[in-house]
Assembly symmetry: C2
Homo-oligomer: 196 residues x 2
Amino acid sequence: MKYDPQKKLNRNTQRTLKAFSEAMFGLLGEKNFEKITVNELCARCDYPRATFYNYFDDKYDLVSYCWYQLGKDAHLDAAQTLPTNESLLAVFDEVYRLFTTHHDLLNRVVEHNPVDGLLINDFIHHFNRVMTQLFANSLLNHKTKTPIELMAQYYSNTVLLVLKWVFLSQHDVSLDTARGYLTELLTKPFLSEANN
Amino acid sequence: MKYDPQKKLNRNTQRTLKAFSEAMFGLLGEKNFEKITVNELCARCDYPRATFYNYFDDKYDLVSYCWYQLGKDAHLDAAQTLPTNESLLAVFDEVYRLFTTHHDLLNRVVEHNPVDGLLINDFIHHFNRVMTQLFANSLLNHKTKTPIELMAQYYSNTVLLVLKWVFLSQHDVSLDTARGYLTELLTKPFLSEANN
DNA sequence: TTTGTGGTTTTACAAGTGTCTAAATTTTGA
DNA sequence: TCAAAATTTAGACACTTGTAAAACCACAAA
């Protein structure tokens, strides 16, 4: 990404970024990410190749910008100041909501891209980074033997595991059920005996 | 992968596979995976390009064969029949041991490849698949609201999170400390209040 | 209006990718 | 041991990638 989407961007730049990300979103719903070429993206939004490379390093760069855009309408910052337990569920709910909003898009994407392939991995990874940062903040005053960074990664991982299960592996369960899974995973002591 | 490494392979095939995977391991310790080209791999082990494509679809295919090879000297199958709690730690120990064996290689790889980049992700992912399968088996007679497949993924994820922290993020703590992290993560009820 | 400046676009290029065909070579089995 | 079958290799092809130099344009200041 050669432009910082946080900064003020002039109208032209915004239009170009939007055009490319929409082209990408469109194509992602139609075919496998690996098969998408830069030429194709440019053809779809009618910009020359050089313009693409003016804004992005490569298609991976563009797709990560797409995730950034998609994630923008989630309001996660609020959760940052809550204690961990509340923060965790607040963030879970909010991302559940976000993914619900984009339910159709996600379904189309999954139709053409393997759930454990590069693209979906990258998608999950993007939210993982955001959430890890968040949880790390709300864990600051916890005292554990385990390093905070590792705990933050653990919580983020687990939240995303459930969300992936619901939205990407398409088990499409309700928010309540999903919450149930999450809390059972996090609270069930692993040393429990097999109850046979 | 056009040949199944599980099947019997004639001497020639084995030699070729070995040559290519060694070339890959060598190059991975020298430069970034993205910069490695098929030509380079062929040059290093002195096989023509056509032979490479005879055995592998692309370099991603080769590298995943490399992970398979690397994982072969871990004896995980035994853990499959144990109850979950013992299985979990047995598998953890065994993979800890495996990664220790390849400590130098991993360090060299991490020097040239970002920890959250495509290559390392793929590496983790490979073991994630293997372990998820394993845990799914040892969870068969557990009764939980949460689907077994999801629980298996959760355990596998968490084990690998710690191992990644130790060996790929290079915090290099002892087996005991690492075990401590893992058990704290898995047993700590997430609803614990902030202890400030 | 002219000129300069910054960004966009054109065009060209040196690489790499993956596929294909036909020739060379090895393996196999009679 | 020899010929048929299978595999490996060379070479070529169409295509993509990312970069770089030069032409081009719009818009502001003089």
